[in-house]
């Protein structure tokens, strides 16, 4: 048989990491393509959610604020859907690996945790972005044109915000390994809590004072505030623009690292308890 010379030098390096990430992302794309039905449904899901909340917003809004209301809902929703994708995809795909018994096989290979986690989100993120663009088109069709103040800066803030979401999701992946089936409940709970506390679908001014204090200590709140105001205009509600930008940038750097560290520690704990493959 072909002998594969084993080279220990191969166990590190950026190129190697990139190869790992590439092959895992490719696998995710292939698996995604085998679930064609889900693939198609995900578009409708995004559109239905946007539609339901936008109409709910509009029936409570004075007629002269319709454009503002639609824009507000759309941009709020973009961040929410990315957060939701990151949270659910990582947790669900790890759970699925536990069901299939592939998690142990995966952890027997010399891959990095960071590429394992990131590759899991990547494929769905690409698909979600396509969906969001399609949704923008349909929302414009149904509700008419709405504001697009600073697309360039908005995109930069969106990308930074994505890394903040990754950080939260990586940490959550650790919880998925630990709490197994209860993860669905936890993910739902966290999603709703972040949705409310980070004022994802309404202005921060609507929050009770005590919740607003809580909002100010969660980095995601600044992502929401900054992205929304960049796209629909006006000043951020929580802090001056520059300060919010710095917070978002630092969070985008620090949170993913913390998330991976937490994930690593839960894997170690699972190895101690022997429940890595339990489902």
């Amino acid at each position: 048989m072909t002998s594969l010379s084993f080279n220990q030098e191969q166990l590190g390096g950026l190129r190697l990491w990139w190869n790992e990430f590439g092959c895992m992302a490719k696998k995710e794309f292939i698996v995604l393509s085998r679930y064609k039905f889900s693939f198609i449904l995900s578009f409708f899901q995004i559109f239905f959610i946007m539609f339901i909340f936008t109409v709910a917003a509009l029936i409570l809004t004075p007629p002269d604020k319709t454009d503002y209301g639609v824009g507000f809902m759309f941009y709020s929703f973009i961040l929410f859907i990315y957060l939701s994708t990151a949270l659910w995809d990582i947790g669900n795909s790890l759970r699925e690996e536990q069901y299939q018994g592939t998690l142990e096989s995966l952890f027997m290979t010399p891959i990095s945790y960071f590429s394992t986690l990131l590759s899991r989100i990547f494929a769905n993120l690409v698909w979600t972005s396509v969906n969001v663009m399609a949704c923008f088109f349909f929302m414009t069709l149904v509700f008419g044109e709405f504001s697009l103040i600073n697309v360039g800066l908005g995109l930069i803030i969106l990308i930074l915000s994505l890394f903040v979401c990754f950080g939260i999701a990586f940490g959550f992946a650790g919880l998925a390994l630990r709490y197994k089936e209860s993860m669905n409940i936890l993910t739902n709970f966290l999603q709703f809590i972040l949705m409310i506390v980070c004022a994802m679908f309404f202005p921060f001014s609507a929050l009770p004072e005590i919740v607003e204090i809580l909002a100010r200590i969660i980095p995601l709140s600044y992502c929401v505030d900054l992205f929304r105001t960049t796209m629909i205009g006006g000043a951020p509600e929580l802090l001056p623009f520059e300060l919010e930008f710095v917070i978002v940038m630092l969070s985008a750097l620090i949170l993913p690292l913390l998330g991976v560290l937490y994930f690593q520690s839960t894997v170690q704990k699972a190895k101690h308890e022997g429940n890595l493959a339990e489902y």
Partner: protein, 347 residues
């Protein structure tokens, strides 16, 4: 010249804590000692068998050696690396755990092998050749391009074995690799394992509860029971230790009272009901009374008369070769199959 130690295990213990449910709202913590100070070594190019009934601690041990599980205490080195150097250990081993599980259902066999090959950093060109060779070797054929979800259990098992070989690691750890394979396929897999060892000098740990497999394949065998290695040696040496005794196999209808009567005879060392597979190529099992005695020529008449007096109907009596099963029975007083199947008895 001393041989290179590929695996060194010293004083490994593992204790699991689990919740025991009491009603809907209450639970209580349970402790299970899965490994109790296990020590052994495996040299380069050796096939080391871990023989023991289900629940003896084989899988726990293998999981610790593959870094999937951390020990409660003790140390281990795999290919010279301590358990904390998990990336190096992972690159040194190909493993087959959890039976037929461990494949992506929605990927084809080829896609699974490509994926895991890439995760082991096997260069693309080499990987293609390797997959083609494994496909030929294991006769995977058309199945390579079908989704795993459509495979039979045996086919999944073969694909998992191919996955264990994909990175051409110097060490193979195989946990009950022939489970769910039919007799022919199991024989074929054992042959490949032997070839891997002889032609490529791979070091292999082979866990099984089937003593014939351990006997056929392994250079040395560690018999594990209740988390402890209770004997470790060349299979022949282990059997030779029992050479001053004879073993009789009695088939027929044997009530427990007859067995107890024989066991109480002074000439008899032990009399146990054991189970073995029929020699017709199937996995069908039959029960027999296994009698260990000092001199079968002298003891035979009294054994026959005692059995008959206690209601036994004898169909056949054989004087048997000593097997690893006998070694296990001699040390533990139980049969390997007894523990594996739980609660078998005949009358």
């Amino acid at each position: 010249m001393s041989r290179q130690r590929m695996i060194e295990v010293s004083g490994l213990t593992k204790t699991f804590r689990s919740k025991k449910r009491i009603g809907i709202f209450k639970s209580q913590m349970n402790e299970v000692k899965a490994l109790k100070g296990v020590s052994f070594h495996v040299d380069r190019g050796e096939i080391f068998g871990l023989l023991g009934p289900n629940g003896a601690g084989k899988t726990t041990l293998i999981k610790i050696l593959t870094t999937l599980l951390l020990p409660t205490s003790g140390t281990a080195k795999v290919n010279g690396y301590g358990l904390d150097q998990d990336k190096n250990i992972k690159a040194s081993i190909g493993a087959m755990l959890m039976g037929e599980r461990g494949l992506y259902w929605k990927l084809t066999g080829r896609e699974n092998l490509e994926y895991f090959g890439a995760l082991y950093h096997v260069p693309k060109k080499l990987l293609e050749d390797r997959i083609a060779e494994l496909s030929d070797l294991l006769e995977l054929g058309d199945f390579m391009d079908r989704n795993v979800e459509s495979y039979s259990s045996g086919m999944k098992m073969k694909m998992v074995f191919a996955r264990a070989l994909i990175n051409d690691a110097p060490i193979l750890m195989l946990d009950e690799p022939t489970n769910t394979l039919d007799v022919k396929e199991a024989r074929r897999l054992r042959k490949i394992v032997k070839e891997c060892n002889e032609n490529e000098n791979k070091t292999i740990i082979y866990c099984t509860h089937v003593m014939q497999e351990a006997d056929e394949l392994c250079h040395r065998v560690g018999i594990i029971d209740h988390g402890q290695i209770i004997a470790i040696d060349d299979p022949q040496e282990l059997k030779d230790d029992l050479q001053d005794t004879d073993i009789l196999s009695v088939e027929g209808t044997i009530p427990d009272k007859a067995r107890l009567a024989v066991e109480s005879l002074s000439e008899i060392i032990s009399a146990k009901i054991l189970v073995k597979q029929k020699n017709n190529g199937s996995k069908e099992e039959k029960f027999y009374l296994n009698i260990v005695c000092k001199d079968s020529h002298q003891s035979l008449p009294i054994i026959i008369s005692t059995l008959s007096e206690n209601g036994a109907v004898i169909r056949n009596i054989d004087k048997r070769e000593t097997t690893l099963e006998d070694v296990f029975v001699n040390i533990t007083g139980r049969s390997l199959m007894d523990d594996t199947r739980q609660g078998v008895s005949i009358n």
